[in-house]
Structures are given as C-alpha cells and as structure tokens.
C-alpha cells in the first residue's frame, strides 16, 4: 500500500470501520510512513477535540412536556394494539421524575383492566408518583435493621428487608403505600439513576415462585409470591438489570416457603 491508497483510509481506520485485511495492510504502511502517521495523529487529535469539547445540547425540560401534550392530543387516532408497540419506543426514558411522566403514563392505557392489571396499574402509578411527589421514602436508610422495624405495627405483615448494595442495588429506604384498598410496604432500591419500587402485600392468589414479567405503560413490572406475600416490583431499568436485581434479592432473602 502506498500513501495515495492509505490516506483516504485513515479516517475510516480511526473509526474502527476498516476491514481486517485493509487494517493490516494500512498498519504495515504506517510503520514505514511518517507522513501518514502524522495525518492519523492529527485526525485523532481532531476527533478527540470534538468528543471532549463539542457542546452537547440537552433538550430543555419543557420540550418534553410540550411533545407529550401534543402526542396526547393526537392519540385517539392510534389503534390500541399498535399503541403498545409505539409505547415501547416512546416509553418513558430514564428517571421519570416529572409531571410529564405521569401524563405519559396516563397517555397509553393499553391493557384491558383485569384484576391483576388493575393492581399493576396502581403499582406503576404509585411508582411514578413516588418519584414525582418527592415522597420516595418515609424511612430513608440503607440499613435493613432500621427499615424493617419501622414497618412494625403499621402493617399486618412483616416484609423481608435486605440491602443489596453489594450487588449494585443499594436500599434507599421504605414507605407505607396504599394499593388495592389496603396499606402495603414499599421498599425502594436504587441502581445508578434508576429506582426500583418493591411492593409487598398479603398474597391474594396461588403462590408463584417464579416472577412474571409484564410491561405496563413502558415500565417493567415483576410479580411473584412467596411466604404468603405478593411481591410486585416496578422500575424503568432494562429487563436484564431488573432480572439481576431480582436474582440478587432472591439469593439474599431467607428461604420462604413457596406455597402458603
């Protein structure tokens, strides 16, 4: 390879988009050619300048709300089945701590409300509300020995409380919530900027040791039961991370009988 052949490839090589064969030939040429090394070094410096210094314009907060308002206005035209798929693409992004998020969660009411769906809806609404209203926790502590006793006497069950900081999901605290016409325990975990709300309530049906996953308005909702309790977890984490959290939780909990 000579310089005429090498020069046009340098930028492609820099981007890691050159095939293996051409990369090898180019590297061989570079070893013997100071000119081309210089061109590459400049391209690298220029690329680093853009990556390091170019402004990243974040969308201003009110824009999100404006778009949601507008989507909402145009919504009735969308057939419901496709709306579910739409929702996955337009689903609430990262930490959805804004009124817009609630508007969004109300925007696409996609499941026909059966009893489990009704609870799932309340769970998701509560999750969104907990972040909106700055009422995430009544007892803020990463210490399971502080959080667990706090629930004593407030509920007719003793929720298992474990900190999962070692697995990357620190306990943030707990609060009393109200789901399906009764008070329930809500435990809050954090992973980076994402929150997981875990609701614990007396079991209503048959125990299911393995978790069901449903997607409700863009949120992953996990549900399982053990030890006479129903567990509902909701988060905007991606499914893989939520599963990792669930695995860590299951491993950390004292074994509970799956049947009640």
């Amino acid at each position: 390879m000579d310089c005429d052949a090498a020069k046009p490839l340098l930028s492609v090589y820099l981007d890691g988009e050159l095939g293996a064969g051409e990369s090898l030939a180019l590297e061989t040429h570079l070893e013997g050619c100071a000119d081309c090394r210089e061109v590459l070094a400049r391209a690298e410096a220029a690329s680093a300048a853009i990556r390091g210094q170019a402004e990243y314009f974040r969308s201003p907060g009110p824009l999100r709300a404006r778009i949601l308002d507008q989507l909402q206005a145009s919504l009735p035209a969308a057939p419901p089945a496709r709306a579910a798929a739409r929702w996955r693409v337009f689903g609430i992004g990262s930490l959805a701590a804004s009124a817009a998020a609630l508007a969004a969660s109300l925007l696409l009411f996609i499941n026909a409300p059966g009893p489990a769906n009704l609870i799932a809806d309340q769970i998701v609404a509560s999750h969104v509300r907990s972040m909106m209203a700055q009422h995430l926790t009544d007892v803020a502590s990463s210490d399971q020995h502080t959080v667990k006793p706090w629930f004593d006497g407030k509920l007719d069950l003793a929720p298992p409380v474990v900190d999962l900081a070692k697995a990357g999901f620190p306990l943030v605290g707990g609060r009393l919530d109200y789901i399906d016409h009764r008070p329930v325990a809500a435990l809050v975990y954090r992973h980076d900027k994402h929150l997981i709300n875990l609701f614990v309530m007396p079991a209503t049906g048959a125990a299911t040791a393995t978790a069901d996953v449903t997607l409700v308005r863009g949120y992953e909702v996990l549900r399982w039961s053990a030890g006479g309790m129903d567990f509902w977890a909701v988060s905007d984490l991606n499914p893989g991370e939520l599963k990792a959290w669930h695995d860590a939780l299951t491993a950390a909990l004292p074994p509970l009988p799956a049947a009640n």
Partner: protein, 174 residues
Amino acid sequence: MPHLDAAYNLARWLTRNDHDAEDVVQEAYLRAFRFFDGFHGDNARAWLLSIVRHTCFTWLKRNRSRDQAVEPADGGAGAHQTSVTGAALADLESPEVLLLRALDRRQVNQALEALSADYREVLILREIEELSYRDIARIVGVPIGTVMSRLARARAQLQRAWLQVQAKDGGHGL
C-alpha cells in the same frame, strides 16, 4: 421518551438555534409517532434521528433558504495545507498535533458551527452519537462510501480551520 437529548442535540447542531431546534424536535416526534408503522428495524435511536434529520432539512429549506451554510469547495479558502515534515520528527508530536490538542471549547464549537450542514451532521452522528457508518448512511440517506468520504473531508476541513484559528488566537512561536 428516550433519545430526546440525542434528537435535540442533533437538531440544535443543524439549526444552530435553540428555538428552531425545539420546534424541529417537536415536529419530528409527532411525525415519528404518526409514522411509527414504518419502523421495523432494531435501532430506534437511528430511526428517530433519521426523522429528526429529515425534519431539520425540510424545516431549514422552508424557513431559512437565505443563510443555508454552503459547502465550501475543497481546497478553497481554508487550504492552508501545512506541509508535513519528514521522518526527522516522526515520533515526536508535531506542532500541529499539539495545537489540535490545545483547542478550547469555544474554538471547537465555533469551527463546528461554521462547517456546512452536510459535514456537521456526519461529525455529530459519528463523534457524539457514536453511530456506525451503516446507521449514519441510513440516517443521512447516502451510501456508506459517501459517509466515509464526508467524514474524512469534514475532519480535514476542521483541522485546517483550527490550525488557522490557533495560529491567529495565540499560537505564539509557530
């Protein structure tokens, strides 16, 4: 609504104006939502960005035909091709590389803004959004070969602009 920052950043770089960027993004999301049935791929971000990009250019054509950035002919005003010195300096960093490393935020952003929109968009998609050539080709609607050559030319042009600015702004002793 994922990718809103990516959408806004691209629109802001293409329109070079906050207000216009907001209007474009709003219109693009509405369009994306309406034409969602046209999305069958696996990369929702690239798909959304292609709509943002399309909306930008339509919008620019409609509202701003007067000051569209024109692509300068290659080797034009900026042709300040510093001759590359030979093997003597081979393994030291050349003064040009050192200058490029010393660019500040203002210099980087000004030169990016001054590029033609065709060049600016491929650089933003590649350097900031870190999209593959294949995705960029889809978004911009050109063959991959064109993405390659545009990126190479955009970088070369930026370097010339920067080296000139550096020499003017205070590249003393060079």
